[in-house]
Every structure is written in structure tokens, then in C-alpha cells.
Symmetry: C2
Subunit: 273 residues, 2 copies
């Protein structure tokens, strides 16, 4: 199975389009966890245990692990070992470098850590992304239109009458001969998400910005899914991870993930059945 | 002193525009080093000891360290500890993420590892770069026109009649209120380097692609320097690191760095005095 098929299978089996962003910030996790030798690993363990049946994917932003040094990489490895095979793992590293350097990043992410997919910057073009895409089972999500304010600096620049991000998408479609490319489109851009899905009918779309970043969930479902109600990865991090700052944080995370899953599934039934 | 002033001071004191890319590949370093507990740390130690008086900067591509896991981060830390303060250190990580994630990367690179400068992707715009630029003493090199084949995929797209990379440069100039922004321009693009320097008279330009990637050294000096013959960082990695694969590798690296420094200084005298 190529990555797109794997993602669809996971979303179908889990009955969920929820992707939880495992971006643990030591300053935000419950105080009592700091007794543990590796507080972030323990935090992740409990979040994964209490949510893994409710999600189709976990996305780890590598910045949060890199910032912790060796303890961070240990936590990342320990967390990955707990995630069931049926759930997709995404290394959100936004890498992109010349060929021999991207090879190194890809080796670390896809071989050493054995992630199912990665996120990449488009700016350096095809040879900078190819090492992440060589195995059709592994996905590569290319940044198209991001959720942050700075998206307006370059992504909307007009090239032959169309915004730059549309050129990125057209190029990604050409590269997607093996069925393992996808896009990143922020949930904070619903109108653009609609035109992007119309342009890229069959690509997985990773949609961060649900929850803390304020993206509109109903629109993200409606415009982000493919025609059969799949292939959108609706991603929330802070609103799930920090649903409670007390000892009940894992239960609160479960409740938040469950409500997100159900809210999404209600929308899917409304729009796609 | 802001970063631009620091770079100029270093280039002046060292009488060198050479930046050595410390991108150690365990498969390429001399065989006998594999007896050491951390072969890459030992390789770097001997390269730094034999070249530090000949360079103005070292650039570490983080991919090479990340690929080695914990040993890689140990090697990076050990290497940084050996580099004299007079020499600029650049974390070539090509990062770029939403604000709170870029904060994490910046904390790791600028606080934990204490690098003098970083490289970043422009695609996500200002808030994705700001955490790397907050301290005027620390530099941030924004990818403008890269040395790899994929540069043509997006960087040359025409926006209002000008290539995208020129828009990136104009934006960087606006952001550079504190004197710590720079650009990355591949040595494989001499004609474009000339127009870029004319656009960005006072920005540091990091110029990879000398040596193994085949960039034209004389043109890189002529077009990459500012009007006084400074602020180009002429970067070679493989041609210095692997000048010999024998026990004399550090001497051979010194000879390669020396010849590069002198060749550059001859050009500078010709063009700028």
C-alpha cells in the first residue's frame, strides 16, 4: 500500500480523522510529572495511552524534542515505541536541504526513528524533498499554505495570476507519481482550503490549527476532506494536551480528543454520506 | 556589536573569508578514526585544530549530527567548545516553523548550543524567523537562491516581473533593522549573485557550493563581497574535510583551507583594493 492508501485505511479502521500534535512543552505539562526522570516521556506515554484509539495519527513537532536535548530524543523514541502500528506517525520537522543533507535528515526520520511520514519546506524544490519520498509507503507533506501570520509574506505572492501556494500544489501533484505526497494547509484558511481541495482531489491534507490556533473545525472538515470524507488530517495539539493541568490531564485529553473525533464525524455524515 | 559588525571584525582579524562546512559523514572520514569512542567528534577536533586560524566561520549542517543520534549531538557540543570565540559559528539547520515552534528551535540553537547564527527557510514568513533574529548579535541567514538543482522549481518563479528570490531579498532588507540578517546564495549562481549583491549592498551573504559543488570561486569573491571586500562567507565542506582520506587528513585539510583563503585574498586584492 502506498502512503495515501495507508492513511485512508487507518482513518477507516480508527473511524477518526483526528491527528493529535504531540508537542510537549515542559513549562505546560502538569507540575507533578516533574518527579519523573523524563517528564515529557511520561506525559506523552499517558497521552498516547488515553487517546490512541481515538486518532488516525500523531504528529510530533521535532522542535519540541530538539529543544530538550538528549532527553528530548529519548522521549521521542520512547513515545514512538508505544504508538500502535494502526496509527500513522508524522515527523513535523519542516526539513528541506540540498540532496546529500536531506538524505541525512530522511535517514534519521524514516529509518532511525521509523516515522511513517514527514513535513517539508518546498522552497528548495524537488531534490530537497525526494529523499523523504523515495519509499511509497512513507508520506511527505509539503508546506503549501500555513496557519501563521507570516504566511502572507510569500505564500500569497501572485505568480502568473495565481498565488505561489497554488504553484507549489501543482508541482506536488506532478511529483506524486507513487501516491505518497500530501499538503500542509492551515485550518485558519478555510476559503483557500476549499480551492486547494478542488485543485488536489486525491492528496492527503494535513490541517494544523484546530483548537488553540482558532481554525474553524466545520469548514476544515467540509473543505479539507476528499469526496468520500477522508484524507484530511485534522490536527490539534494544545487543546488536547493541556485540556487539564491537573492529575486528570490524561482523562481530560481523552475527553477533548473524543469530542473532537465525534464533532468531525458528525460533520462528515452531514457532508459526505 | 550587531552580527554584521561581528562578522566583519572576524573576517578582518582572521584575514579570511573562508567558512568551512563541518559536515562530517562517518562513511567518508578516515577509517582509522573509527577506533575512537566518538569518531566524528575526533574528526572535527582535528579539523578545527588544524584550520581555525585560517577561517572566519564554521558552518555545521545539523542534518549530519541529527543523523547520528545522541553521538551526533555530543560531537556537535564537543566541537563547538573547541572553536575560538573569534570565529563565527553557524547552525545550518534551515529551520522555519510557526512562532512557538521556531522559538523552540531558536532556543536549542542559540541558547543551548550557543551558535552565533542560523540558516532559515523563508516560506513561512516573518514570525517564523523572528525567534532567530531577536538578539542583534546573532545572525540569521535566509535562503534566497540555493545551489541545488531544485532551486529552479520555485525560486525563479516570476512575481511582478522579478524572480521570487528577489522578493525574499527585498523582504529581508526590510526586516534587517538591527543589522543581523543575511542571505544564502549558492556559488553555483554567479550571474544572480552579482544582481543580488547589487540589491543587498550591506547584507552578509553565505555562499555554499565552493569546491565539491563546483561553484566558480573568483566570481563568488568578486560578486559576493560588499564594496570593501567583506561580508561574503565562502563556504567549502567536502573539498576541505576529505582532502585526504589517510592519517594526514588534518594536514591536507589545512593545506586546502590555506590555499582557499589565499586564492580568495588574491582576488580581493585584485577587485577591492
Amino acid at each position: 500500500m502506498n502512503f495515501t492508501e495507508r492513511l485512508r485505511a487507518s482513518q477507516n479502521a480508527q473511524n477518526s480523522l483526528v491527528c493529535v500534535g504531540l508537542d510537549p512543552d515542559p513549562r505546560k505539562i502538569p507540575q507533578f510529572l516533574h518527579q519523573n526522570e523524563n517528564p515529557v516521556a511520561e506525559f506523552n506515554r499517558r497521552i498516547v495511552e488515553s487517546t490512541h484509539d481515538l486518532v488516525c495519527a500523531y504528529k510530533m513537532n521535532l522542535a519540541f524534542y530538539e529543544a530538550l536535548g538528549e532527553k528530548g530524543w529519548q522521549a521521542l523514541r520512547a513515545t514512538l515505541a508505544l504508538i500502535p502500528k494502526s496509527v500513522i506517525t508524522i515527523a513535523d520537522g519542516k526539513r528541506g536541504d540540498i540532496g546529500n543533507s536531506s538524505e541525512m535528515y530522511a535517514r534519521s526520520i524514516l529509518e532511525d526513528f521509523n516515522f511513517d511520514a514527514s513535513t517539508v519546506h518546498p522552497y528548495m524544490g524537488f531534490d530537497s524533498l525526494q529523499p523523504f519520498a523515495r519509499n511509497a509507503e512513507r508520506g511527505v507533506f509539503v508546506l503549501a499554505l500555513t496557519s501563521n501570520p507570516g504566511a502572507k509574506d510569500f505564500q500569497y505572492l501572485k505568480v502568473q495570476g495565481k498565488p505561489l501556494y497554488e504553484h507549489v500544489i501543482r508541482r506536488v501533484k506532478k511529483w506524486n507519481t507513487a501516491g505518497n505526497f500530501g499538503l500542509v494547509v492551515g485550518a485558519t484558511r478555510p476559503a483557500q482550503l476549499k480551492t486547494i481541495r478542488a485543485l488536489a482531489l486525491t492528496l492527503p491534507i494535513l490541517i494544523p490549527g484546530i483548537g488553540a490556533q482558532g481554525g474553524d473545525l466545520r469548514k476544515a472538515v467540509r473543505y479539507g476532506c476528499d469526496a468520500s470524507g477522508f484524507l484530511a488530517l485534522l490536527t490539534a495539539a494544545r487543546s488536547v494536551l493541556y485540556a487539564s493541568s491537573g492529575e486528570d490531564f490524561a482523562d481530560a485529553a481523552r475527553a477533548a480528543a473524543l469530542s473532537l473525533r465525534d464533532e468531525i464525524n458528525v460533520c462528515r455524515e452531514e457532508y459526505f454520506v
